[in-house]
């Protein structure tokens, strides 16, 4: 069984002069433990695809089944709850609540899940340690560098114990050293904890780190290779 399974997934934006087929009949299967990059030129539909898989956007046609659940059949509040408990998100920026510290940001999602305090405290500290931020737990996002903020976002995404983590261009705003660092952490979490990561990127060095690379063009999968 696949973690993610899409069939003939399409998204058409019909609000301009000509309809845009942002995602056009995508059949995609993602297995557990994957470390997969979605690549392709700008406008090829990476964000649209990830948003639909993450239950943030609804398809115009086709189905997305996550862990056996059909997302397109869920109502809005059901979807929010599903996202909370099954999907981790790392965005390009604005991932964190500005008024909360690294520790509180990571803990926040577990509070939404109503996890007991003991579990929260232990998990937050171990996750921040894993992303190398043990000495920054009481810092607010504004006191952290871009790379550090993204690492908090990864810790936050993992805190919820999701089925998989979606990251849309997580390194786009980072310098190459921070980008490599973030990728190292993600790769290690994938290997050691078995966390499934699906991320989109333009960065060749990031692409090189992925085990599977799916290339999109005009909303269609044109290449799907598994490397090393």
């Amino acid at each position: 069984m696949y973690v993610i399974e899409t069939k003939d997934l399409s998204k058409v934006y019909d609000n301009g002069a000509v309809p845009v087929h942002a995602v056009n009949g995508v059949d995609l299967n993602i297995e557990d433990d994957e470390f997969t990059a979605i690549v392709g030129p700008s406008g090829s539909g990476k964000t649209t695809l990830l948003n639909m898989v993450g239950g943030l956007d609804s398809p115009t046609a086709g189905t997305i089944v996550v862990n056996g659940k059909d997302l397109s059949r869920m109502r809005e509040n059901e979807l929010i709850n599903f996202r909370l408990n099954h999907i981790g998100f790392v965005f390009q920026s604005y991932n964190l609540i500005p008024v909360l510290t690294a520790k509180e940001n990571t803990e926040f999602i577990m509070l939404l899940q109503k996890r007991p305090k003991k579990e929260r405290d232990a998990r937050v500290l171990s996750l921040l340690k894993e992303v190398g931020l043990s000495d920054k737990i009481n810092k607010k996002p504004s006191e952290l560098s871009g790379g550090q903020q993204q690492r908090v976002a990864v810790a936050r995404a993992l805190a919820a114990k999701p089925d998989f983590v979606l990251a849309d261009e997580p390194t786009a705003n980072l310098d190459s050293k921070s980008a490599t660092n973030l990728l190292n952490i993600m790769a290690r979490l994938n290997k050691e904890e078995g966390t499934t990561f699906i991320f989109s990127t333009h960065d060749q060095r990031v692409i090189d780190r992925a085990r599977r690379v799916i290339t999109l063009e005009d909303g269609k999968i044109v290449k799907d290779i598994t490397q090393n």
């Binding site: 509040n77 929010i80 909370l84 604005y94 609540i97 500005p98 509070l111 899940q113």
Partner: protein, 405 residues
């Protein structure tokens, strides 16, 4: 955690929040103080009325008022009842009065008056009418048939201390009787209407003129404590089932209307203040929501449901309003308590105030329940104020908010 977030969010824009909080604090401060001011006036008015006019409890013949104060309806056993009451544990003083409607005439003019026959000594203790004498003396300096008239009446009749006046009234046997009196003193209360229509004479002398068998038409009772009123009224109603026993609120129901009406006026007044403040809060919260689109979108994306999102906005509004509200209430409390002791001189308006029976110094006061009521209004206000900004937040689509990232 939501409280923590809301609290810190408020201080993200220190100046903006401080402005709203100050506005709320000032609005409530003014509102609470004005409430205290008006309730102070009313309380004083009530005190004046009770202390110098109606006393706490009055006893009459059951038909006395119905029969238009006909002198035939005096209190049977009035003298004994008055004696008994004066030694009752709840009672401070009692005063029995012989009352008749009549005319007062001077060389210049005539005027309709209520002639009140009193025992000067006890009446002085009960209503303090002796302190209201501004010219002449309280039943002194005139040997027989002394009379006390109000200043307004004295002016109207053009009479002075020691002037002779003639009282005309009906004897209990139906004959119209006239008797000469001499002005011993001129009094002035806070109520000029009262001064114009009431005169005091000695009840023993007056009884001889209207009918020896009359006891009292009215027994007024001043209790040791204002709080005894309900207990005492109930007790005497049980003790004298054949008589009309009334407490001050039954005698002057107008007083109750005054308090009730003031309650309503103040409620409307506060609501208007609140409404004005609400626009300020709505505006601030709307700004707070709109500038946080991405953050709120992110929160919905990672799994914060609409209920919690709305709660967060509501909480932020509540805290904002309550901080301001609390400051306003405390400032209001302090000023009211300060002036409750010191008093506010409203001397400039004194002429106008006195004519309707108000004192010239106001001692503001406000019962605890009005503070609680105001605090509750602030809470309700914040809930209303958060509806629109909250709706805006709920309408956000996470994808669109995220796209802007």
């Amino acid at each position: 955690m939501l409280i923590k977030i809301s609290w810190r969010n408020i201080w993200r824009h220190k100046l903006r929040s401080a402005v709203v909080i100050t506005a709320i604090a000032l609005g409530l401060w003014a509102g609470v103080f004005i409430m205290g001011f008006y309730f102070g006036i009313i309380e004083q008015k009530i005190n004046d009325v009770v202390r110098s006019e109606v006393s706490h409890i009055q006893i009459h013949h059951p038909d006395y008022k119905k029969e238009d104060f006909n002198i035939n309806y005096f209190i049977p056993d009035g003298l004994t009842i008055s004696e008994d009451l004066s030694v009752d544990t709840l009672v401070q003083y009692t005063s029995g009065r012989v009352i008749s409607m009549g005319m007062i005439g001077s060389a210049k003019a005539n005027s309709g008056v209520r002639i009140i026959g009193i025992d000067p000594e006890v009446e002085a203790l009960l209503t303090g009418i002796d302190n209201k004498v501004i010219e002449g003396a309280f039943f002194k300096g005139v040997k027989r048939n002394a009379i006390l008239v109000g200043q307004k009446l004295a002016t109207k009749l053009n009479i002075k201390v020691r002037s002779k006046v003639v009282l005309t009234f009906q004897h209990i046997n139906g004959e119209i009787t006239a008797a000469a009196f001499r002005v011993a003193g001129i009094f002035k209360t806070l109520n000029t209407t009262y001064d114009e229509s009431n005169v005091y004479v000695n009840n023993k002398e007056f009884r001889k003129l209207v009918g020896e068998n009359i006891t009292y038409h009215e027994i007024a009772i001043l209790l040791k404590e204002h709080e005894y009123v309900d207990t005492a009224a109930e007790k005497y109603k049980g003790l004298y089932p054949g008589l009309l026993v009334e407490d001050w609120l039954e005698i002057v129901p107008l007083m109750r209307y005054m308090t009730d009406m003031m309650d309503q006026v103040m409620l409307i007044f506060m609501l208007i203040i609140m409404l004005a403040l609400m626009f300020g809060i709505v505006n601030t919260m709307l700004m707070a929501v709109l500038e946080r689109t991405r953050e709120l979108g992110m929160l919905m994306a990672i799994g914060m449901n609409k209920f919690r999102l709305f709660n967060m906005i509501l909480l932020e509004t509540l805290i904002l309003a309550m901080v301001g509200g609390l400051i306003g209430l405390i400032l209001g409390y302090i000023t009211i308590e300060y002036y409750a002791v010191k008093g506010i001189d409203v001397g400039i308006f004194s002429a106008a105030y006195e004519s309707v029976g108000f004192s010239t110094k106001v001692f503001p006061q406000l019962e605890a329940r009005y503070y609680i009521q105001t605090a509750l209004q602030v809470v309700i206000l914040s809930i209303f104020a958060s509806l629109y900004p909250g709706r805006k937040a709920l309408k956000l689509k996470p994808v669109e908010a995220i796209r802007k990232i």
